[in-house]
Structure formats: C-alpha cells, structure tokens
C-alpha cells in the first residue's frame, strides 16, 4: 500500500472541508479523485503533499506516518494547475531544480534532464525560457520537473484544467505513458469525468469532503452504489418509488434487500443509453414505463440525445434529472444511435438495463439546551424520526465546568422520558448554544434541524425571540423546525408562500415532509389589497401542480389582506394547522432579518411548530 489516509478531517474556519476521509492507494496505480468544485479534492491532495496539515486523522506514505512531516521530507512530486514554472529559469534549469537542491553532480543532472525532456516530448527545448513555451509545453515542463528527483508518489492537481481540449488529449496520453513506464504511484484530482475515465485505474468520487464511491471506472459506471455517484458519473435517470407495491413492485423485480419494511422506498436508476423506444408495445420481457412522447432531440454525432415525456406513475417521483418547477409528468433522458430514424413522436418506453439504489436516510439534528421549553421538541423529533425513517443526532452545548458524563446522563434521562433513548447519537461540544449549533450544521450533512422556541423569560426585548434564535435563523443552511406549543402528530401543513420571497425551496421541502408523513398541504398566498398578484397566482398554481404530481393532497388559498402576519396567524388558527412552513433568508444575508421581517413576526407570536426554509445561496 503506497498511501493510506486514515479518517482525515480538515476544517477551514467553521466549514468541514474534508470529512473523515479514508483512502488506500496501491503501488504503481493511477487513482483519480473526481469531484465538483468545493468537494475538498484539492485539499486532500495538498494534505498528502504536506502543503497543508489535517486537523484529525493520519496520513501514511510507504509505511511511514507522514501526517505532520514537512513537505520537503515526503519525497513527492507535485504538479499544479497553473504550471508554477520558475519564470526566470530555462526549461532545463527548471527540471534540474530538485536535483540541484539534493546536491546531484552536474554530469548526472544533465543526463537526467535529457532523459526527462525526451520522456515528456520536449526534446531540444531545454534552453528555452518558459515564456517562449505554450501552456501545454509549460505543463510538460512541470511534469518533468516533478519527476526529476524520482519521487515515489506523484500528485497532480487539475493539471489540464487551464488547457484547451486538443492539447489536453495529447497531455493525457503523455501522462499515461510516463506513469506506466516509471510505475510511480499517482493521484490526479479533476472535475472532468472524461479525464477520470481515460486516466484512472480507479476513480474515487467525492462530495462535500466525503468519498461517495471508489472503484474501477467500469464498475462505478455500471453498478453505482449511491445516487450521487450514479448521477455525477455519466448522468442518467433516477426515479423513486415504493419497493413493495406500485411501479417497482409490479413491473420490476425489486431485490429482497430493499424490501425490508412495508412502505420502504427504493430508487430506480438507468442510463440514457438503456432507455428503449419502440413503436409497438415490446413483449420481450423488458419492463415498460409507459407510452411517451419525444419533446426534444439533439443530434450529437454517433448518438442522438432525446428527452421523452412519460406520464407519471402513481406513488413514484422523478429525482434526476431534477424536475422543473410545476412539471407533472416525467421527462426522461435517452440516447439512441443517430442512424436510427425517428419516425413519430409517440413511442413505448422500456428499459434494457437498470439498477436499484437504497434511498439516502434523512438525518435530523435536534438541539436540546437548558433554555429549551419542556421536551415537546424531543417528542416531535421522535415522532418525525420514526415517520421519515431518519437517523437522529441530539446536540447539547456544555459549559466549561460541566463534565461530559454528567451532561450525557441528563440528556439520556430526558430522552428516556420520551422513549427516545435507543439509536440516538448525542453530541456534547463545549461552547455557546447558538455557535455550537451553527458549527455542527455547517460541518455535517443534515436534512433538518429541530429546536424549541426559547422560554419567554430569556426573550430579546424588542424582537420577542432570543438573540440566539435570530443568530441561528441567520446562519442556518438547513431547514429549521422551531417547536412551540404542545406536540401533536402533523396532519395538516400550511405553506405560507407570502413569507419572504415566493420560494421554490419551501414548496420542495413541504413536498418532502408531506410525502413522508402523509400530511395534507394548504398553500397560502397573501397579497396586499389593490396590487397586481399575477405572479403570486402563477406561483401558487405551479406549486399545487408540483405537489399534486407527488400524490400530495393539496388546496390553495389566496387572501387579500393589508397585514400579512395577521392573515397568516389567523389562517393558522382557523384551520388549526399542525405545522407552518415559511421562507427564511438563508446564510450570508443577515441584513434581511430585520424586526419587521414576516417570518420573524410570525415566529414571535405563533404557538405552533414553524419550519423555516433557508434560501439557497445565490
């Protein structure tokens, strides 16, 4: 084993960039780390190189613990995205830099430089200055320079990112040849999946600092284990539905492992090239999704990309490609050989290959602090967790003088009161309540935060809610369920699309919650008298068809009122709703949370649970 990363984590400020990342790289292999920008892939590479150090975990290179060893001692070669050629040195001087530092004698230096120039296709260019070279040639110099001191490990950070497509192809072949010839263990980081397929002996797919899947390119493509790997690598169609009945149970054999419980959901994934179109209903045993209509076709050389509208099957929904707002039918992506003529618009849609993925389990973070009002929020957490089959984490901040054990016992007792002491993980970090919560939600992937509205006596005088809550509202990047009043099961949800911007996120979240707990939804849009509310009407119409397409019972209501807050609160108590969903303002826009903000006003006066949906970063 050449390189071993053992549960490595790295934070920048509050953000967990690399999250308990584990990886083993074999001798002489070329491993590609593939991820979108911000997935932490470059940080991992820089930690292996020693250009930055991990906060936790271990890095072992060739059997030696190198976690905190200085970069000079690691014996690695590194190629940067922007070449980083020494601009005041000739090509040859650049390449021999590492040898000179190591005190290698001049004759053998010259010999080695000649070898490397030959190997990287730069023969005869040794005396050029870097500025006389093209980008591709400069990157070849960088590669030769990184290899000159015969490193045991070669690390490349998006090495071809700044080059144009044709030169990229040439350089990939050069890299592949050189790497195989020298048999040097190599890690290459990229966001380009074509590059990953072409170069990688193995590919590791990263998302938010975590390894989502690793394996041989073909295995990863054919049998992805997670929906992220499936859609990021190659793309395709992802449908979600119940495992035991409806579509998947009836027309596709769902493997036993996905049918553990009644109502268990499963995700069906298939590549565009496995979507088949026939004029007559096929009788060859292929599962048929229905009769579809081609709504778009693009000629792309050897293949033709099509988008097919297929009527939605009850109980199932489309996950990827992400449905447009207001879209009721499924729109699936397909690829056909381009020499196959398309004769009509209507075809029977069936599948030649498919795979099943377990749906991701939702993760709830419950905040429990001394100021929490009773344990209604814990009851809600227990009920919600059971309903949506989610995993629960309870967070309680701990003051400096409090011992971990004592607080843990307290929390366990409280959990036992609401029959929640089973499979719940408990986190007890030190610090102030708001900061602790904000840090934890940024550091991990949660689907929902749950906390109780703080007690009246700690009210922040002019806002009617505490400063801590305002702080959390401003900084939370995850939907926030604020519990007030007595707990009762959620059966009726009021979605207030007047709070803040009419958001699509609150509709999507309402759908997510309602579908999982089987609640009915009422859409409420409040507009001021004598104003044009065409936009509002259209939004509500789109929202109801989106919800209806997910088999959610939905009605909509448009109210004319000069006071939005009064109208919302009045409607909530008239209809005796169990949950209000409102738009918040998401991270990094604290200036929006002024006292006159509708969401804040409602929160101040309400005595029912409110779910605040952060707006996505712009």
């Amino acid at each position: 084993m050449s390189i071993v990363l053992d549960e490595v984590s790295k934070r920048f400020g509050n953000h967990l960039v690399v999250d308990r990342f584990a990886l083993e790289v074999f001798d002489g292999e070329l491993l590609v780390l593939l991820g979108a920008s911000g997935s932490g892939k470059s940080t991992i590479l820089r930690m292996i190189a020693g250009l930055t150090y991990p906060d936790e975990g271990r890095i072992v290179i060739h059997g030696t613990d190198m976690t905190y060893a200085p970069v000079q001692q690691r014996g690695i070669g590194f190629v940067f995205q922007n070449y980083s050629i020494f601009s005041h040195m000739t090509v040859a001087q650049n390449i021999e830099f590492g040898l000179k530092i190591r005190g290698v004698a001049r004759p053998s230096r010259i010999r080695r430089v000649e070898e490397l120039l030959e190997l990287t296709g730069l023969a005869g260019l040794g005396n050029r200055m870097p500025r006389q070279l093209s980008g591709g040639q400069q990157q070849r110099v960088a590669l030769a320079r990184a290899l000159a001191h015969e490193p045991k490990v070669l690390l490349l950070d998006e090495p071809f990112g700044a080059l144009d497509v044709k030169i990229r192809g040439h350089l990939r072949r050069t890299l592949r040849e050189v790497q195989k010839r020298l048999n040097v263990t190599t890690i290459l980081v990229t966001h380009d999946q074509e590059e990953a397929f072409e170069l990688g002996d193995r590919i590791g797919v990263l998302e938010r600092g975590r390894l989502q899947g690793i394996g041989h390119p073909e295995d990863l493509y054919r049998c992805p284990r997670s929906d992220y790997v499936a859609t990021f690598l190659g793309g395709g169609n992802l449908l979600s539905g119940p495992a035991t009945s409806g579509l998947f149970g009836a027309i596709l054999p769902v493997p036993e492992e996905y049918r553990s419980a009644e109502g268990q959901r499963v995700q069906l994934f298939f590549r565009p090239e496995h979507l088949c179109l026939d004029k007559e209903r096929p009788h060859n045993g292929r599962p048929v999704l229905g009769r579809g209509e081609i709504i778009e076709q693009v000629f792309a050389g050897s293949i033709r990309r099509v988008r097919v509208r297929v009527p939605r099957l009850p109980g199932c929904r489309q996950v990827a490609p992400q449905p447009k707002f207001g879209q009721e039918d499924w729109i699936l992506e397909g690829e056909l050989p381009s020499d196959l003529p398309l004769e009509s618009q209507q075809y029977w849609v069936s599948l030649s290959q498919w795979s099943f993925l377990a749906p991701p389990r939702p993760h709830l973070l419950v905040f429990d602090n001394a100021a929490s009002d009773g344990n209604e929020h814990l009851k809600m957490a227990g009920w919600l967790g059971a309903k949506i089959d989610g995993s629960l984490t309870v967070l309680r901040n701990r003051k400096e003088h409090e011992s971990d054990q004592k607080v843990r016992r307290e929390v366990q007792e409280r959990l036992a009161e609401v029959d929640l002491d089973g499979a719940v993980s408990v986190l007890l970090p030190q610090g102030r309540s708001g900061n602790v919560l904000v840090r934890e939600q940024a550091a991990n992937t949660y689907n929902l935060l749950l906390l109780s509205k703080p007690k009246p006596e700690v009210r922040f005088s002019h806002l009617g809610i505490t400063k801590t809550l305002t702080n959390i509202l401003e900084k939370a990047e995850v939907p926030l369920l604020i519990m007030s009043g007595k707990f009762r099961p959620i059966r009726r949800i009021l979605v207030c699309t007047a709070g803040g911007e009419p958001g699509k996120h609150d509709i999507r979240l309402a759908a997510w919650v309602a579908r999982r707990i089987g609640a009915a939804v009422t859409l409420l849009h409040v507009f001021a008298p004598q104003t044009d509310n065409t936009v509002g009407r259209r939004h509500v119409a789109n929202a109801s068809s989106t919800l209806a397409s997910l088999d959610i019972q939905v009605e909509s209501k448009l109210l004319e009122s000069p006071n939005t807050v009064d109208a919302i609160l009045g409607e909530a108590s008239d209809g005796d709703f169990d949950l209000l969903i409102m738009g918040g303002h998401g991270p990094y826009s604290s200036s929006f949370f002024r006292p006159e903000d509708v969401t804040l006003q409602v929160l101040k006066r309400v005595n029912r649970p409110v779910l605040v949906v952060p707006q996505e970063e712009v």
Partner: protein, 279 residues
C-alpha cells in the same frame, strides 16, 4: 482600419486633437525641466572650465560629495533589506494592525522632511526621549553621520516597499510551494525562486531610493547642523555656497548632482522596461 487601431490603443492622428496637448506638454517640460538644466550648466561653466574643476575638487566639495554618496548608498542598502521584509510581511501575512502598518509606510511621503529631521532631534537630542541609546552605544546620533543616515532612510522608506509589494503579490505562493515540493528549504526557496522573480522590482525600488537620498536636503539640514568638511552633504554645500555668494562652487556641485541623478534616472527607465517585460 481605424477601429482596429483604436482597439489596440494605438495613437490616432486626426485633426487638431493631435497637436494641441503635445504642444502644451512640450512647452511646460521645456520651461520647467530643460531650461533649469541648461541654466545650471551655463552657470557652472560661465567662469570657465578650470574654475569649475577647481571648485569641484576643493576639499570641502569632495568631502560633501563623498558623504552624499556614502549616505545614499547606505540608505539604499538599509531600505532594500527593511523594505523587502516590510513588503513581504504586508503581502504574505494577515494580522491585526496590518492596515495601519500599510498606511504608516506612506507617512514619509506625506510629512515634510524638515519635520522628519525635527523628530529625530526630539528623540535623540540632548533632551530627547531616547537619548540613553546613543549614550549607551557610545556614539553621537544628532549632528553626526548616524542621525543623517536615519533621516535619509526615513524619507526614502516607502520606495522599495511600494515597488516590491505588487510584484510579490503578483508572483503568488505557487512557485514557492512548487520549490518546497521539490525539496527546497524556506531559505533556499527565497534565494533561488522568490528573490530572482522579484529582482527587477526590487532594483527599481532601490534606484528610486538612491535618487531620493542623493537629493535630500531638509531632513539632513535639520539633523546634521551642516558643519563644512564634517557633516555637510552635497545639497548643503550648494546651499552654503549660495549663501557665501560663491556661485561657481554652487553651480558646479549642482551640475555634478544633476548628472548623477540623470544617470540614475536612465538606469530606472531601463529597469522599468525589464520589469515590464517580466510581467
């Protein structure tokens, strides 16, 4: 064609727009720069070449010239090192008070050199706050060479900092990181990668420092006391000669200074071209 030329930023010759500004610039350059230079040369040689040579080789004049060159060269050397370190700290480090330090660097440009000299006297003079320092070291600062050097260093402090900072931040840290991955230590990296990459900017800053130090008058006048043959620099020599109505000596010295400054200026222009190419 014309559109293309404009896009490339080439001069375009059309109508009166071409001539008028050029004429204005040429006129005031002639009046303000060339005419004084000619006047100085004429003044220097008006009483004959031999008189000029005699004046310039007098012991006082030679001493003043030597002192000026000594001051200018030492100030350039000191500011090269201090300026480089300051620029490095300002570009590469983020710390409390960085903005303040960044502003303070320009202070010598903002306040009059006379005031700078006065400050040194207040610090190191007979009643000064830091008078124990020269006493402890057994040297004299005010009315002596160390004080004059301090004054010169102070007034020419910003040049190296301001010239090196943009070059250093343009360079970034990637080349240095590359050197580290190739096994170079911090010092090796600085010597073999960073310094060569910023050398033209650094040299340009040093030349500006030198030119400024050469012509410094106010701060040095206040600090030195201007004792001829002792603490009298070239500019002070000119000032005293004018006072003594010894115009031949004043003009001769002025011409020498002008020639050295002009030489430095040409050097600066050459360096500027090199730095321009490098970027």
């Amino acid at each position: 064609m014309r559109i293309a030329d404009r896009e490339l930023g080439r001069p375009h010759f059309s109508g009166r727009g071409f001539k008028l500004p050029v004429v204005i610039v040429l006129t005031y350059t002639a009046l303000l720069v060339v005419a004084p230079l000619l006047a100085i040369s004429w003044g220097a040689f008006s009483s004959g070449v031999s008189a000029t040579l005699r004046e310039i080789t007098s012991p006082d004049a030679l001493h003043a010239l030597k002192l000026t060159l000594l001051l200018a060269i030492s100030a350039s050397g000191l500011n090269a090192v201090l300026g480089l370190v300051t620029a490095w700290v300002l570009v590469r480090h983020r710390f409390r008070g960085r903005a303040l330090l960044n502003a303070l660097v320009d202070l010598p440009f903002a306040i009059s050199p006379v005031i700078a000299g006065l400050m040194l006297i207040l610090l190191f003079g007979r009643e000064g706050w830091l008078r124990f320092l020269p006493d402890a070291l057994g040297i004299q600062i005010v009315f002596a060479l160390p004080g004059m050097l301090l004054a010169t260093v102070f007034v020419s402090l910003p040049f190296v900092v301001r010239e090196v900072m943009p070059v250093l931040s343009h360079l970034g840290t990637e080349q240095e990181e590359a050197a580290h991955t190739l096994g170079a230590t911090g010092w090796q990296t600085f010597r073999k990668v960073t310094l060569p990459a910023i050398r033209w900017g650094l040299l340009y800053g040093i030349s500006l420092t030198f030119a400024r130090a050469l012509g410094e008058f106010g701060a040095v006048l206040v600090v030195s006391g201007g004792v001829s043959g002792m603490t009298e620099t070239a500019t002070l020599f000119i000032f005293r000669s004018m006072d003594d109505r010894n115009y031949a000596a004043a003009y001769s010295m002025a011409l020498v200074l002008a020639v050295v400054s002009f030489g430095t200026l040409i050097l600066i222009e050459l360096l500027k071209k090199r730095t321009g190419q490098r970027r």
